[in-house]
């Protein structure tokens, strides 16, 4: 068994760690953190980008020959707003890749599944490569896949919470049945969370707060890089699984089921 390369919309990624670019204390801290993380794909909040063609703070620190940009519609509350934001981003950043994030609620920033599915359908028709950020909802992820999403980005825990893989049981189902890459997004607070996501079979993780808000974001970026690599290596080298054997045979004596069969064919 070997790890197939991660391919999203025909683009191959050797790094399984995607980074958000918000919350860094300075452009320089962000630049060094991205470098230490080994990432190849970074999200950029549309709110941070100037759409008038002027030079831009955040973009001046991003080497776009090195990092593919993934504009993020964070801040939009409806499909209609997200589609408008996506068109502006395509113009401003020159990419048709998009992290679709629609949360009408400003407190918990919970993604709206109905608007997200609707927006995915509309944006795919307009030629966007859409990576929707959603709850760890297996049926929603299949619906998004059918609508043409290039990958799905289910959350591990509430965004910014650093809680880790609280949605594990649902992520496992999503990973088991997804026909597109699964990127666990939001809530990962420690490299061990990222490692666990990769061990579980996630194709990649997206991390922002845990790195950007660390005392030493550059060192933390490196730690996440190692966590992701460890998780992927563990998966392809063959995890032996849960401590309980598959059978979980009850301790009470179970009469043999196969004694009626001959020992050989």
């Amino acid at each position: 068994m070997s790890a197939n390369p991660l391919i999203i919309a025909g683009v191959e990624f050797s790094s399984r760690l995607f980074l958000g670019t918000g919350k860094f204390s300075s452009g320089e801290a962000m630049r060094l953190s991205l470098e230490a993380s080994g990432t190849q794909l970074v999200t950029v909040a549309l709110g941070r980008v100037r759409t008038g063609g002027e030079s831009d703070d955040i973009l001046s620190h991003l080497d776009t020959t090195r990092y593919r940009l993934l504009p993020n519609t964070s801040g939009t509350r409806t499909a209609k707003e997200a589609v408008l934001a996506a068109e502006l981003a395509r113009e401003a950043l020159g990419t048709h890749w998009l992290k679709l994030e629609i949360h009408p609620d400003p407190k918990y920033l919970m993604p709206d599944p109905v608007e997200t599915l609707l927006a995915t359908e509309l944006l795919v028709k307009r030629g966007f490569v859409v990576l929707p950020y959603v709850h760890a909802d297996p049926v929603l992820c299949k619906r998004l896949e059918e609508a043409g999403a290039a990958a799905v980005m289910p959350l591990g825990a509430p965004i910014g919470s650093n809680l880790g893989l609280e949605s594990r049981a649902f992520l496992e189902i999503i990973i088991a049945q997804s026909g597109v890459p699964v990127v666990v997004d939001a809530g990962l607070g420690a490299p061990s969370h990222a490692a666990a996501a990769l061990e579980m079979g996630a194709d990649a993780v997206l991390v922002n707060t845990a790195i950007a808000a660390a005392d030493d974001p550059v060192l933390m970026a490196r730690a996440f890089r190692l966590g992701v690599e460890a998780g992927l290596l563990a998966r392809i080298s063959g995890l032996t699984g849960m401590p309980l054997r598959h059978g979980a045979i009850p301790a009470s004596a179970t009469s043999p089921l196969t004694s009626f069969l001959g020992e050989t064919g």
């Binding site: 032996t240 045979i249 196969t258 001959g262």
Partner: protein, 383 residues
């Protein structure tokens, strides 16, 4: 959407057989250590391998446990209803093969209803309609049969020639609830050797059938290989690959697996590769561990003695009291059959046996009124 044909083409049958043969007890042990429902295709290869033989009792216990957890101690009972033995295919292993000099029969409306009446009187609520492959028993014939039978049964399944997607969709609207389409073998060479002429000789059309069913929105797809045509372990592995594909791509669709073994039939002997009862149990266990939710079906081709022990090892449905010739229930009990059955008990006897073992025989698990059809009760009240 990914097609299974492309998936199949990426794997070489002989190479898969070699890979299975090379699995070690450590590979089997690792597969058995996986969390439920998280086995990969290499784990399936290990569980199907000769190295798994010493683990068979452990596999059976795990399989039984997983099945009871998902399905309870229940067994769905169904009966095949052979509508026609007319067939334009020449297949080495089948009693209906076009070159066989047998009397061909295609049931009329009255004959279909007579069969239905007998099956209903036995208690059946799910029937599997079976035909050979000719234009005469195509979509229009099946559509008519479904409309005739709809008021009498909740579960209407077919095992007939592969059809185009739009015809499946149309039959779905007529009340079709499941389609069984056995690949027979995933070994292209063995497939060619055994399907000499007729539409069935096109392996790719057959391989693509479950994808057409999934796209047409048919609720349940049954897969299987006819064990005995080629290396059973590799054929079972490819069936698992097909199952995984259907589960992933056609995720709204239920799945069922059958384990038909080559049986004696009218029309000559062909070389049969070994596939013992012990092998059948190993295959069933491997499938249950691969997929906790797939329905596994135990055929009346198997003996009464075997079925009485084997049913607890992962199986969730059984045919009973089967006749495999058109008109076999009502009018022609002695005429030629597609294959011989080996469990001659009546449905009532099978049900009584299951109850004696602490299992509930389930005759009905759906109602056609939920699909927008007038149910049996409504029809009875109106008549």
């Amino acid at each position: 959407m990914m097609n299974f044909l492309d998936v199949w083409k990426r794997h070489d049958f002989a190479e898969v057989a070699r890979r299975i043969a090379s699995k070690t007890p450590a590979d089997v042990d690792r597969a058995l250590g996986r969390a439920r429902g998280s086995l990969g295709m290499e784990d399936l290869a290990a569980l199907l391998s000769p190295a798994a033989s010493p683990f068979l009792e452990e596999m059976a216990q795990a399989c039984h446990h997983a099945t009871v957890e998902r399905f309870g101690r229940t067994m769905r009972l169904f009966a095949p209803l052979y509508l026609s033995n007319a067939c334009a295919n020449v297949c080495t292993y089948c009693g209906f093969s076009a070159h066989n000099k047998i009397r061909r029969k295609t049931l009329s409306d009255a004959e279909i209803l007579a069969e239905a009446a007998v099956l209903r009187s036995h208690g059946f609520d799910s029937v599997l309609l079976v035909t050979g492959e000719t234009g005469r028993v195509g979509k229009d014939y099946l559509s008519n049969a479904l409309r005739l039978l709809r008021p009498h049964f909740s579960g209407l399944w077919i095992e007939v020639q592969p059809l185009p997607e739009d015809e499946y969709a149309a039959l779905g609207a007529d009340g079709l609830s499941a389609v069984l389409v056995y690949q027979e073998t995933y070994d292209a060479d063995a497939y060619k050797r055994n399907h000499l002429s007729g539409a069935k000789a096109d392996i790719e059309w057959r391989l693509g059938t479950p994808d057409r069913l999934g796209r047409a929105g048919i609720k349940k797809i049954g897969l299987g290989a006819l064990f005995g045509l080629s290396d059973w372990r590799a054929d079972a592995w490819f069936t698992g690959l097909h199952l995984r594909h259907v589960e992933t791509v056609h995720w709204r669709t239920k799945t069922a697996i059958s384990f038909p073994r080559l049986r004696p039939h009218e029309g000559g002997e062909i070389p049969v590769t070994p596939f013992s009862e012990r092998d059948l149990i190993q295959a069933a266990c491997a499938f249950r561990l691969l997929s906790p939710e797939a329905e596994l079906s135990l055929s009346t081709r198997e003996s009464e003695a075997f079925r009485n022990k084997a049913f607890k090892i992962g199986f969730t449905s059984m045919s009973a009291g089967s006749r495999t010739n058109p008109g076999g229930y009502a009018s022609a009990p002695e005429s030629l059959e597609q294959f011989e059955i080996d469990d001659a008990r009546s449905p009532a006897e099978v049900a009584a046996f299951l109850r004696s073992q602490g299992y509930e025989p389930v005759w009905k698990d759906w109602d056609s009124t939920y699909d927008g059809f007038a149910g049996r009760r409504a029809v009875a009240a109106a008549s």
